[in-house]
Symmetry: C2
Subunit: 194 residues, 2 copies
């Protein structure tokens, strides 16, 4: 049943299947066969479209990062002031679409992958830089040179809450509580300033 124009469809469904598979198996059992099977195709086809397994996983990572970036941009667009911008970044980070088991597992796997794959490390470094930059843009006008320390703290807090959630398999992620923890920190940093 070969229909023309399947390339983007297959690529998308394989990427989706890879993320789901990572989420289910906890990131190490992911074989190309399993990903392909979940996407409803043969493993050979996965290789046909991606070449290597690493390429599939990198595409999955790029997909997650780009969805996250879009969410952050959308949240920032609706923010009224500096404080609002910081809160927007935090809320976007824990939006239910992001803060769900499959994506959380995928993030953990990215950190592992970055240990050996330079391309994974590069993508993660871009995320890290962008997050820091977004936070600083909101914080610096409000707290001046304290901003650096605070941005580092907020970023680490976000990453830490993700990683801790990955441990609680079974318990569904609680976006509201995670957001509350980070915003509490932000409030302490900003105090009652404008």
């Amino acid at each position: 049943m070969p229909r023309i124009g399947m390339k983007p469809i297959r690529r998308a469904s394989l990427v989706e299947a890879a993320i789901a598979e990572i989420g289910d198996s906890g990131s190490l059992n992911v074989t190309v066969s399993r990903i392909a099977q979940r996407a409803g195709v043969s493993s050979a086809l996965a290789h046909h479209y991606f070449g290597t397994k690493e390429s599939i996983l990198l595409s999955a990572m790029r997909h997650i990062l780009s969805v996250y970036s879009a969410d952050v941009r959308a949240a920032l667009a609706g923010a009224a002031d500096h404080r609002g911008r910081v809160e927007a970044v935090v809320r976007a980070s824990f939006a239910p679409e992001q803060f769900r088991p499959a994506v959380i597992s995928a993030w953990l796997m990215f950190y592992v992958g970055a240990q050996r794959s330079p391309e994974t490390a590069r993508l993660l470094a871009i995320y890290k830089r962008r997050l820091r930059s977004n936070l600083l843009a909101g914080l610096r006008p409000l707290v001046g040179r304290e901003a650096e320390l605070a941005a580092e703290g907020v970023a680490a807090l976000i990453d830490g809450l993700y990683i801790r959630q990955s441990l609680a398999r079974g318990a569904p992620p609680d976006s509201a509580e995670a957001t509350a923890v980070v915003l509490d920190y932000v409030n302490r940093v900003l105090g009652s300033r404008p």
Copy 2:
């Protein structure tokens, strides 16, 4: 050259080699052969003493956790008041002996392992509970029911700083800065209370 009484020596050196190997290769390349080779023995010997690969890795984890526990206890013993106890836990968490590349990589691997190994998850849950309990003991007398949120924040901050450091391969971990970030948070929570 078989001398009697080698069992504890071999077990210790294999555990040490496992941690070093995890640190070098970033946690996934660790094969029993490599661990054994680094410890200067054959892979069969590693199986003789540990039975399974998982058992080697669990022993490595237990070793790291027990050293960390001892460090925390020692730091707590020297603390004068509640605030000192919280600071002691934080400082112990980033003591140079703990906060070094091999151990940081090992922690990352524990989180990954916990996804599938119930025993790993159990050990990590114990660590999580103990950390929380240590923090609460110091925080609760000072901030009452705000303590829960603060303890969760401090714990996530510690985990997050570890995970972020795992990314900075090459750059040596900066214990002082990590400690400063967390203590800054603690100070904001405690304010200028006694």
